[in-house]
């Protein structure tokens, strides 16, 4: 019987069967950042252990660094400087590659890793960061781990992993006007829950996925973790190979041909089977926004805040009630009548050049509504420079957005910068958790174009009703 890509990746990295479904799995790449990687490096050092293959370990500063122009090691986060200096010292001591604050390649780990060709098809890659599943969009097995497991991966080149069940999420047809990969993944989570993928490795398949450019595929896989999945994967194809080719750390010359031959055998066989399957027709997907405090609180933009009384499952209903109280929303309110105080475009979900281009197309010739604080944080230095070469920054600035240096920025609140107490934020990020973006901040997740349309409107907005200027 045929195998899916996840089984092929698993089999190619299985070192030892530990029994009862647990395996010792070989790890090709480890990526670290200053938030959780610093402590992993310090832990190894304290235990007197070495990084086995430091040439296959990379680190970047993204979580705590400021994103204001002229930034230094000093950060707005109390105590933040120590994370940066500790990481720098530990990375240098361990002999791993660090993309430091002043490195032109610096940026968000899950943007930088594919951009530099460090992640590519056929690899296993781990990082002490839950959104590592982003990189599965290249046909790699990439997943988030804790700091202790990061120590384990660096010291032993392996991890002990329970073999996941397999789920296919198939998107039939192609997404319509105004519908992005972000809407596809929010649609999935909104209908199947934030625990819908628990215990599974999810393969995203179907014409809707094949039609997506590589950068949009990262967005899709990025939020596999918000679906509860162990990871998300997409079988590599010509789109993938064209994306990877020529990147700094990607195989080149003769090695490229050799690698390509291997990668072409990775894609899922026609007769592969799964433990579970979800089929979604892209024709049923319209732009999504969240109204609550879990990614499963996603809804079509043209609907209203739902009524918990209509929810049959009491655990979901109780969470809805708490979420509405936290979000200060009333059931029945049209989503497009919810006013916003801030707009954020950035994060490992939606900060790539194509995201910024799409948002700029909405913002061109327009201005953010009065009273809306709007910020754009490109995902990497490379993204920022490429956007600036196209004049995209001028569109953002003319529209009233701030234009920042690369980093994770206000995807989360680390004690420094935030939008202000109880501010309602429309955001291209991945988590609308309580207090995630600031003290009592009320986050509404959406695509970058929906964020742009909402910023201009002053309330959550249906991007389909907003023509782009030619």
């Amino acid at each position: 019987m045929g195998r899916s890509i996840i089984e092929k990746l698993w089999d190619a990295h299985a070192v030892a069967d530990l029994g009862d479904g647990s395996w010792l799995v070989y790890i090709d790449r480890v990526f670290l950042h200053e938030r959780t990687g610093s402590i992993a490096l310090k832990g190894l050092e304290a235990a007197g252990r070495q990084v086995r293959n430091p040439e296959q370990v990379f680190c970047v500063m993204d979580h705590i660094v400021d994103t204001l122009p002229g930034r230094t090691d000093e950060t707005m986060m109390p105590g933040g400087k120590a994370f940066i200096t500790t990481t720098r010292q530990a990375a240098n001591d361990a002999g791993i590659t660090l993309f430091d604050l002043d490195d032109p390649r610096q940026g968000i780990v899950h943007v930088v890793s594919p951009e530099q060709g460090i992640a590519y098809p056929g690899l296993t890659l781990v990082c002490p960061d839950s959104h590592t599943c982003t990189q599965g969009a290249l046909g790699a097995m990439a997943w988030g781990i804790g700091s202790t497991d990061a120590e384990h991966a660096m010291a032993t080149k392996t991890l002990v992993v329970k073999k996941p069940k397999l789920m296919a999420v198939r998107f039939d047809g192609t997404p319509g006007y105004g519908v992005t990969a972000k809407d596809m993944i929010l649609h999935l989570i909104g209908r199947h829950g934030a625990a819908g993928g628990v215990g599974y490795a999810v393969e995203f398949t179907g014409e809707g996925v094949r039609s997506l450019p590589q950068e949009a595929r990262f967005t899709l896989c990025n939020m596999a973790v918000e679906f509860g999945a162990w990871t998300g994967v997409i079988s590599p194809d010509e789109t993938t190979f064209n994306y990877v080719k020529g990147r700094p750390y990607a195989p080149a010359d003769g090695a490229w041909e050799q690698a390509l031959a291997d990668w072409q055998s990775l894609r899922t066989d026609a007769d592969a089977s799964y433990d579970a399957q979800i089929v979604i027709d892209c024709a049923d997907i319209i732009p999504q926004v969240t109204w609550g405090t879990s990614p499963q609180h996603a809804a079509n933009i043209d609907t209203v805040v739902p009524d918990p009384a209509a929810e049959p499952d009491h655990t979901r209903r109780e969470l809805m009630e708490k979420a509405l109280a936290y979000m200060d929303l009333e059931p029945g309110t049209p989503l497009t009548e919810i006013p916003i105080g801030a707009a954020f475009i950035g994060s490992c979900t939606n900060s790539r050049l194509s995201d910024l281009r799409a948002a700029a197309a909405i913002l061109k010739g327009r201005h953010v509504a009065p009273g809306v604080k709007a910020i754009c944080v490109p995902g990497s230095g490379s993204v920022k420079r490429a956007a600036e070469a196209e004049g995209i920054h001028e569109i953002f600035l003319a529209a009233g957005f701030e234009w920042r240096e690369a980093g994770c920025s206000m995807c989360f609140y680390a004690g420094g910068e935030n939008f202000g107490l109880e501010t309602r934020v429309v955001t291209s990020t991945n988590r609308n958790f309580e207090n995630r973006q600031g003290p009592r901040a009320r986050s509404h997740l959406a695509s970058p174009t929906t964020v742009a349309a909402s910023a201009v409107s002053g309330h959550l907005a249906d991007v389909r009703e907003m023509a782009t200027e030619k």
Binding site: A16, L18, D20, I39, E55, T148, T156, V198
Partner: protein, 206 residues
Amino acid sequence: MEKFTTLTAVAAPILRINIDTDIIIPSREMKRVSKQGLSDGMFANWRYTEPGGREEDPEFILNQAPYRDAKIILSGANFGCGSSREHAVWALHEWGIRCVVAPSFGAIFQSNCVRNGILPVILDNAVIENIAGQVEASPADNQLRINLENRTLTAPDGTVHSFDIQPADRDMLLEGLDAIAVTMKHDEAILEFQARDRLQRPWVYL
């Protein structure tokens, strides 16, 4: 790592689904490059009255007398979802939690628990809600008994519930083993794999 064998303790029902690691420890409470000093920030946004403050909110369960001694949390599905931050587990452990009982867990959180001496127990939601009801009737008296060797949780009414756990995880907790040391017993297999892999996938080796 601290061993986990048996536990008889007060349980605190926090029966909400999707309790994420941002709730368990907000990012702003991860102040130093350290695994210590995190319990003060555990559940900070629910535990204290003001953002960033330290005045306890008496409404929050772990601020209430019998539950201050809790070593077990009973919760809803998908506990520990979200961020990979192991700080969530370090904070729980430092505060005194040794076991979390939920219908399901965030995958990374579940692994992090096992690496730090906290036992994740999976039971049906209806069972957990029933046990929570018994606990709430008299929290200090109605303690739960857990035996990891036998993989059982005994409810206050004497009902014994069996739970599953990966044998590798169980051994890790029972023996308080260091995961890296355990894996290094397979070092020959790892090195053989790597030598073979270098020939099969030379492009992978930078």
